[in-house]
Symmetry: C2
Subunit: 347 residues, 2 copies
């Protein structure tokens, strides 16, 4: 396992909106950004990382030849911001970094708790990381707002019956790929057809509820469900991410309500609304803890959230924890409490 250093060498794999924001944060905090990786042949391949991120001083090109670039740059850790699920492509990216001897930290939502499903790639990646003595961890906004703030909150009750979350995020903050994934602009008929299809992977919050259960110390009983409902535009609203207008009566996005039951009889649930916002709307994150009789006892709300900010910042602050962790896939419930990385404080 590479030695923990004050200022580790960081590569960023995936230079979309999130990847470039992470490059900017790392640069401002005087971390050593040593490589930027893009899809081979993408229009960013070969362009200067500093130009792409809008910061001076990073005068080396983004590269499409990931394996070669990582071996040359020898990062301590690779930040991966490519996609959501642990599929074959994502596995290929992670294993390229692992084989280059680097830790991996990622925003891929499935990686927050990849053992929530029976994904054989999670076991394979865990084995590979252990063999190479490196750690692989998924983090992001969820780490603070859907898992660790909530497990601390639940630590202040003496009779835990359930935990219920409600949250909203603006599809327009995350680029066109996610807007399409949230079915923005489709009709209710299209949505129903899509929903009835069998291919839909678990929602983001599916993974976070498993991580929350682990952080609280609960054992899922094997029954998890997700109810998905469309959110319709009541008037024409412009989508920045898509660059088009969402017509009244079509989808601004949808709400997933995930529920996870545990052997302790404690039920965890979260309603996540991802949609194109109207003018006055802002992100929020709200949770209630109920007691054994279902009565609300504790409450926490984060208003005026900038989910894109907290997503990238939480990842950056987790870098020293991931470097110091044991080899293998290590989920955030097994890391120390999330905190500001004072070693890289912006002076």
């Amino acid at each position: 396992m590479p030695e923990v250093k004050e200022s580790p060498r960081v590569a960023v794999y995936g230079l979309g909106a999130m990847g470039l924001e992470i490059v900017r944060i790392l640069y401002r905090r005087h971390a050593r950004v040593v490589a930027g990786i893009v899809r081979p042949g993408s229009d960013k391949d070969g362009r200067d990382l500093g130009d792409l991120a809008g910061v001076p001083g990073l005068t080396f090109p983004a590269r499409g030849d990931a394996s070669q670039a990582l071996h040359e740059a020898a990062p301590d850790i690779v930040v991966v911001t490519v996609s959501t699920y642990l599929d074959d492509t994502q596995f290929g990216i992670f294993s390229t970094a692992v084989r280059a001897g680097a830790h991996v930290i990622t925003l891929a939502e499935e990686m927050l708790y990849p053992f929530a499903t029976d994904n054989p790639l999670a076991r394979e990646l865990d084995t590979l990381a252990r063999e190479h003595g490196v750690t692989v961890t998924g983090t992001g906004h969820q780490d603070a707002y859907w898992v660790n703030l909530i497990s601390v909150l639940a630590g202040s009750t003496h009779d835990l019956g359930g935990i219920e979350g409600r949250l909203a995020w603006n599809v327009d903050d995350f680029g066109p790929a996610l807007a399409e994934q949230q079915r923005v602009g489709t009709t209710t008929e299209d949505f129903s057809r899509w929903l009835a299809g069998t291919e839909r992977p678990p929602s983001f919050t599916h993974y976070s509820l498993y991580a929350l259960a682990a952080a609280v110390g609960l054992t899922p009983d094997g029954t998890a469900e997700c109810v998905t409902e469309p959110v319709l535009a009541e008037r024409d609203i412009h989508s920045k991410a898509l660059g088009t207008t969402v017509r009244s009566g079509t989808l601004l996005g949808y709400t997933d309500t995930d529920t996870l039951r545990t052997k302790e009889g404690i039920t965890l649930s979260v309603s996540s609304q991802g949609k194109v916002y109207d003018e006055h709307e802002t992100d929020y994150n709200e949770w209630r803890v109920t007691d054994g009789s279902g009565k609300p006892t504790l409450h926490l709300r984060n208003s005026d959230l900038s989910t894109a900010h907290t997503t990238c910042a939480s990842l950056v602050n987790r870098i020293p924890d991931v470097i110091a962790a044991r080899p293998g896939i290590v989920t955030v419930d097994q890391l120390p409490q999330l905190r500001y990385w004072t070693g890289l404080h912006l002076a």
Copy 2:
């Protein structure tokens, strides 16, 4: 150090409002309450603990002979809910428990971070606890709401400039001793005279800011200040704790605003309003994180808090962490993340 067990033997030292609530929680959660200790000669001395707490099944007397009672009951841990500051009396209580070979967990506010001041009793107690192989920790509402939720929140920003808290608690929830300490019912002249006196000890939040600094990973630069302002009744309001009416124009309580500066240039502050509530008021806890330019970036609010509930519940949930910790005084920033004690889940 005693072995960590699923259901440790717990003694409760101090059977006021908080102590008896903790007895009830422990009883409902099937912990083993093995002794209740009161001041020798108090009117509770010799009365059945079950009668005092209003629970059946604890059919043994509260005892005034602490040392003898603790040696007989052999608790793994002693819960101490007697007073706020680490003075000679409190030191005597802690050392009686430590000499009986028991860990100590306490609501004494100074013990949240006793090294915030140059209190020689803290060093002496630390040495004594190490000699006896036991841990001494201060916890309570502050652990979750003034320290750990806030350090997690700060872990989701990339540019930490400051942390500001605002909170309110109802003096009437905590009995007559605290109501007198909050100067309830006194005149502004009395208050000014009292404030000008030199004997006033640091506020509760003084200690919590040092604990927060430690949890975030910051180093206080030696400049801490507290500004105290009276909160006056605008009409006659009944105080349950004192059993009298607070006359219009006299004090409902006061607000302490503590500020702590750090070597990293990050300023921590908290305004704590402790007063007798009017009918519509409830406890809240609200924090903002600002960036290096002073702009607010993150927000957290807990509404409709029951501070008495969270005070006692946080202490109970911390018991396994304290039993498992290294010997000596261990502050909450050094413990694992606060979480629900599932080993004692109320089924």
